[in-house]
Amino acid sequence: MLSRREFLNRSGFGLGALGLTGLMADAGLNPQTAQGAVSPMAAKPPHFPGKAKHVIHIFCNGGPSHVDTFDPKPMLEKYAGKELPTGNLKTERKTGAALPSPFKFRKYGESGIEISELFENVGKYCADDLCVVRSMHADVPNHEPSLMLMNCGDGRLVRPSMGSWVTYGLGTENQNLPGFIAMCPKGLPVTETANWRSAFLPGVYQGTYIDTQHTNIEKLIENIRNKQLPLDRQRDQIDLLQSLNRRHLSERPHDSALESRIHSFELAYRMQIEAADAFDINNEPKHIREMYGEGVHARQLLIARRLVERGVRFVQLWHGAGQPWDNHDDLERNHRRLAGQQDQPLSALLRDLKQRGMLDETLVLWGGEFGRTPVVELPTPGANQGKVNGRDHNHHGFSVWMAGGGAKGGQVYGATDEFGFKAVENRVHVHDLHATMLKMLGFDHEKLTYRFAGRDFRLTDVHGRIIDDLIA
């Protein structure tokens, strides 16, 4: 427990916010006890009512190519194999001539958003829900700092992740599940657990990592099952524990720390059951499972919906270990494979959220740490396979999209130059995206702060501009 004083000292919330901490989905929990301690995970209201209550962040780690997905550039055809008249901007590696997208773009929905065949299902079923930002830009063309910037708001220094900030600000609605969950099949992305770290925020706000290659709940969440005791026998054991604890407490009245630890065993007991259920997609009807399709991405997207449905605050889904979308070679083949794993379940997720009325309060963000160059990457021994059929990193301009949760759907915002190299119109920096997302969640990004080492830190540091046009 943070003491009330500690909590007030550190957080940007006033007393008013704390007065409302009773807003708990979990009826059994009394977050505020006699001495004013407050559960760090208790649901709390934001600064002002926000449309988004949950976030699902689909992270295409490695950097998906915007000119092959959500930002069509017909001019690249014209210059195919030739140098761009505007020259190449500096990226990580040597680049050469214009490389037109091998994928066909089409207009979808009433809004007529142009999307490539890679995300045909997303286009066909969900275009009018998408808020595509084509004018994103970041700071450098390297993975590590860009991952850190996208996730933690700073490319170099150790700062808490967006999921940690949101969980710190809003708590979570289901005390039987972790509030912030990061899923990645078969290992960790580059920069590893730093992507969902809580840094100087209390450790409870760190993302709980789940390796979705497993289907067994015991491998998904640490210590979620007791391998020796059946549940009924464990219930007896907890009952014995609680009678001992209550005797202990009766001689030590008015101690919220003792009380909340007693309570935590009840929560833990229930978490065992609820978590197992949340992660078991076999509990879904067949038609829903079929809508999402086969494979690990279908499974983890469906799990994401089940988690959000149960009140989990922030879910981040990674495509896989390392950086699968980093296609310096064989971009066509690899992007087709990767998008193929994502397209159907992704559109299923959006439709599924919508049909359940959950899309309005679930903010879905899709994107990578940056985009890719519209020009081909040249061979460099040891750096690529020298096939001259891939693209280099591009932080000058790239696309992300949001859907639901307060994002204004059916629109394209901003633009890159005619070749897709650099964001030129209505530029949106990663800090601006963060500020805007926080606003959708009900926060003034300048006031969601935490005092550490003599400073009030925030996700957007000293930056961040709210893009009102992105907000519904």
Binding site: S3, R5, G36, S39, P40, E144, R156, L157, V158, E192, T193, A194, R197, S198, F200, P202, G203, V204, T208, E222, N223, I224, R225, K227, L229, Q234, Q237, I238, L240, L241, L244, N245, R247, H248, L249, R252, P253, H254, D255, A257, L258, S260, R261, I262, S264, F265, L267, A268, M271, Q272, P379, T380, P381, G382, N426, R427, A453, G454, V462, R465
Partner: protein
């Protein structure tokens, strides 16, 4: 915007002092002012002041008052000079420049309005605000600089530590030592007093957990309860202070401050583990056990290398304090920042790192002070391998380690040698291609596409080698390259004539120097039509000569040269001293290797590093920091950006502590820094440590922010007590931490009960006045150590390499010896509030979440412990009653009361295998987890 806040502040002050500065050319007319107020000011307010005004100063810039916007001519608006006005620049929305306002380009008429107004001299009335320039209310001297003497006067933490007189109190009977007088004085002022002394069982457990992190055994408790002598408690405290377990407990507290970890943080492909971080951890344990005076402890941690210690002195490992921090992908400014932070915040409670990009917003710490310390650490380096700590013992483990290490190192050397040979062979064998590449890279071929004979393109590094080589040979008028120079540097229209000069023996005087006859002959044989042909001719000649040479070596292996002088001259291009392949193997990585070879070497090197990390026989080494030969003169990095170098600053101690030390003179200044940090004149260091020690004894510190004693920190709850503790610590106890523990623990304040007193709770619900002892929960380490101890399997061995609890959860040694991986800090440890080792942690949060309970309920480790205890209990007591009693004694150090026994026996009667479940329940009780 380009100007710095510091300049800005200074100039504004000067302006204020001079009344009408030079920027104010003429008084604006009333019409001009009306125009300003009706058109310009509203425009600025509408478009700019939201981010650049009194509320916010993005980029340290304000456009709401004249002093900020115009200043003394160095503001963003320069009256009359549109070209020099940064404001006008940025609203042009030029692609390559900052674009303001960020929301979009201003309408043309607004841009015109602003431009014309600036052109007209930017008439703007004096609208005050200069007083606001002095930020944070810091006192300033006439020239606008921080008045450090006055600032030190204003804040309690900067004032010298003096010895306050312990006050007289009403409850004289409650006083055991001076601490109690200070505490009682405040309690009495609120109509309260201390609680009575805790019962002996509580007292011995409290003392034991506090000092050694372990609960006393049942026997120890009973013995203490039976001992009625007045010195019984003091003897317990002494015994605990003498225990080697004391250092293992308190070192962990210090390691939180020292942001200790066994890995470097994300470092890309480098080996992430520190092979020798544990030598620092072991140093701390040992230093605390031997009660090394705290000042000496600090000096060693900052400058042990400069204390004339013997070569392999274990104290050198103290420098790990500086070097076990995160590596930030090896970015020097961030590594230095971490070191500044751990010393300033961790040791002195100063948030100096706030001044990296701008002057501290609240405390008297200018950016100059940050870079003064930056200079100290930038004048230091870490040797590739630190000194061995202690003597190497030639044990079989060590010999095995050494043999394998040599093998792995040899693999690195062999690879480098092989690649070196192959690359140089490539440079020779494809001389023609490389000469073509030289022409291409040096721009001699324009846009022409070059066809190379080989399958692979010439390598960049080897091309570079050839370029440098050819340039040098041309400079030296090497006869081989005289025709080359003539031909490749020829204007196109002269090329044919120059070829003719080479071919015609009559014209040999027109070549610019003596030329190699074989080259000339080859040119005559195949007259080049282009510069590319020249390279091809040279390539052929070089290949032929190489063939001759190889053939000769086959016949006469000890041949040293070709007999024909002209041929030998050409051979000298390829072989021997000064040739293109004259690159020593030691330079191969730097001059020849590209990414492919570098990757290979790195992988092999990683195997060397891996071995040092994993081999049990690797001798321990100290992670030292040493001074560079020449110290670096620091400069301020404007806005923290190393690319924007500002004023020079001396290496020196923070100016607010100018009474302690000034500029550093010797080497990097690190030893002087260490001595200043640990000086009895330093008002912060002693206060900070006594506050930390107090926090660990009472659960709450006297100063609520233990690593921030700055102006925004809450003042101490008991200022006189803090000073008295700090003073006696330095001047009476010679910086002895054990003496400090003794003083605190022998006080009645520490010995009081933790029970509730409703009347006191009403007055002081948070117990800030200390009317009772705070109940405290065991940290993760104490909990885990306690579990091991309860099962009788805690191995008290000290020191050595860390062990990964993820891989070996049943590791029997104290938890301080578990691996701390800062890259992937285990979720379990974060769940139990271990602080992130990414930066110095002031104190641990205290959260209660179900994942903690899940660990207790379900972790195989806990079940294993419970099973073992159950087995021991069963072996000694056949009856359920006897088993219950034995389990209570073993886990909680006491006998159960009748009701508890009945409860437990009833539980066991359901089935005999429930003994383990019951023991586990005892291990999970609040009684086990909390100390009264």
């Amino acid at each position: 915007m380009r100007f710095s806040l510091r300049h800005f502040v200074t100039s504004c002050w000067m302006l204020a002092g001079m009344m009408a500065g030079p920027a104010v050319a003429a008084d604006p007319t009333p019409e001009q002012l009306a125009h300003f107020e009706s058109h310009i000011r509203p425009l600025l307010v509408k478009r700019c002041v939201g981010c650049h005004g009194a509320e916010k100063q993005q980029g340290d810039l304000r456009l709401d008052r004249r002093v900020f916007a115009i200043g003394e001519g160095d503001g963003p608006i320069v009256p009359g000079k549109v070209d020099e006005s940064r404001l006008i620049d940025v609203i042009q929305y030029d692609e390559l420049d900052t674009q303001m306002p960020p929301a979009g380009k201003l309408p043309d008429d607004e841009i015109r309005l602003l431009t014309e107004w600036v052109k007209a001299g930017a008439p703007w009335p004096d609208d005050g605000g200069a007083e606001e320039v002095a930020h944070g209310g810091l006192p300033r001297t006439a020239d606008g600089k921080i008045d450090f003497a006055a600032a030190a006067q204003q804040h309690w933490a900067y004032q010298p530590v003096e010895r306050p007189e312990p006050p007289a109190v009403q409850h004289e009977d409650q006083v055991r030592n001076e601490i109690d007088r200070f505490v009682l004085r405040k309690l009495e002022a609120n109509g309260l007093n201390l609680s009575s002394e805790a019962d002996p069982r509580t007292l011995i457990r409290r003392a034991s957990v506090d000092l050694i992190g372990l609960s006393p055994s049942y026997e120890e408790v009973e013995q203490f309860r039976a001992d009625e002598s007045p010195e019984a408690y003091e003897r317990v405290v002494e015994r605990l202070l003498d225990s080697p377990q004391y250092g293992q407990r308190w070192a962990r507290h210090w390691l939180d401050v020292a942001r200790y970890a066994d890995t470097k943080g994300y470092v890309f492909t480098e080996n992430r583990f520190y092979p020798y971080s544990y030598t620092y951890r072991d140093y701390v344990v040992e230093a605390l056990n031997s009660d090394k005076p705290y000042d000496r402890f600090l000096i060693e941690q900052i400058a042990a290398d400069q204390l004339d210690l013997p070569e392999n002195d274990p104290a050198l490992a103290a420098l790990g304090f500086l070097t076990v921090g995160p590596r930030f992908l090896n970015r020097t400014p961030d590594i230095i920042d971490d070191r500044i932070d751990v010393i300033s915040r961790g040791v002195m409670g100063m948030t100096v790192a706030c001044a990296r990009c701008h002057d501290h917003k609240y405390d008297p710490i200018p950016t100059a002070d940050y870079y003064a310390l930056y200079g100290v650490f930038n004048s230091c380096f870490e040797p590739e391998e630190g000194p061995i700590v202690g003597e190497i013992k030639e044990t079989p483990e060590y010999l095995a380690f050494k043999a394998e290490l040599d093998k792995r190192q040899a693999a690195v050397d062999a690879y480098v040698a092989k690649a070196h040979g192959e690359l140089l062979a490539d440079a020779r064998n494809r001389a023609g291609d490389y000469l073509l590449a030289v022409l291409k890279k040096t721009g001699k071929l324009g846009d022409a596409k070059v066809e190379y004979s080989g399958e692979k393109e010439p390598r960049d590094r080897l091309t570079r080698l050839w370029i440098d080589f050819v340039a040098r040979r041309m400079r030296e008028n090497d006869p081989v390259f005289v025709p080359w120079k003539l031909l490749v540097e020829s204007p196109d229209e002269e090329f044919a004539d120059r070829v003719a000069r080479c071919i015609d023996p009559e014209r040999s005087g027109e070549l610019g120097g003596p030329a190699n006859p074989q080259i000339l002959a080859a040119l005559a044989g195949t007259p080049p039509a282009s510069k590319m042909d020249v390279a091809r001719v040279y390539g052929r000649v070089l290949a032929e000569i190489d063939q001759q040479w190889q053939a000769l070596r086959k016949e006469t292996p000890d041949a040293t040269q070709l007999s024909e002088p002209a041929a030998e001259q050409i051979r000298g291009v390829l072989y021997g001293s000064g040739s293109v392949s004259d690159v020593p193997v030691g330079d191969a990585e730097r001059r020849l290797f590209e990414r492919d070879h570098r990757n290979q070497v790195r992988n092999l090197r990683k195997k060397v590093a891996d071995w040092k990390v994993t081999s049990p026989g690797a001798p321990p080494r100290a992670m030292v920091l040493l001074d560079k030969e020449k110290p670096v003169q620091p400069v301020i990095f404007e806005r923290g950006n190393p690319g924007r170098r500002g004023d020079r600053v001396p290496r020196r101690f923070p100016q607010i502590l100018g009474a302690v030390a000034g500029e550093f003179k010797e080497g990097s200044g690190r030893l002087e820094l260490a001595r200043a940090v640990a000086s009895p004149e330093n008002p912060l260091t002693a206060r900070v440590i006594v506050n930390r020690v107090w926090m660990h004894h009472f659960g709450n510190p006297l100063v609520a922010t233990p690593s921030d004693f700055g102006t925004r920190a809450d003042p101490p709850t008991h200022p006189e007590l803090l000073d008295w503790l700090a003073w006696t610590f330095m001047h009476q106890d010679n910086w002895s931490l054990k003496a400090l523990h003794r003083r605190i623990m022998l006080s009645a304040t520490y010995r009081q009960a933790s029970g509730d007193r409703p009347e006191a709770r009403t007055v002081d619900p948070e117990n800030q006045l200390l009317w009772r002892m705070n109940r405290r929960r065991l940290e993760f380490e104490a909990m885990r150590d306690g579990l091991l101890a309860a099962a009788g399997r805690l191995d008290p061995a000290a020191g050595g390499r860390p062990v990964d609890l993820g891989k070996k959860p049943d590791f029997n040694r104290r938890t301080i010896y578990a691996l701390i991986d800062r890259n992937n800090f285990p979720g379990l440890l974060r769940t139990f509030d271990l602080p992130s080792p990414d930066s110095s942690a002031p104190q641990r949060p205290r959260t209660t979440v179900p994942q903690q309970a899940l660990f207790g309920m379900n972790a195989p480790f806990v079940q294993e412990i419970a099973g073992e205890i159950a087995g021991q209990v069963k072996a000694n007591a056949p009856s359920p009653e006897g088993q219950v009693d034995a389990a209570f004694r073993q886990v909680l150090g006491r006998d159960p009361d009748g009701e508890e026994r009945a409860l437990a026996v009833a539980y066991l009667q359901k089935s005999p295998e429930r003994l383990t479940d019951f023991v586990q329940a005892l291990l999970l009780t609040n009684e086990f987890m909390f100390v009264d």
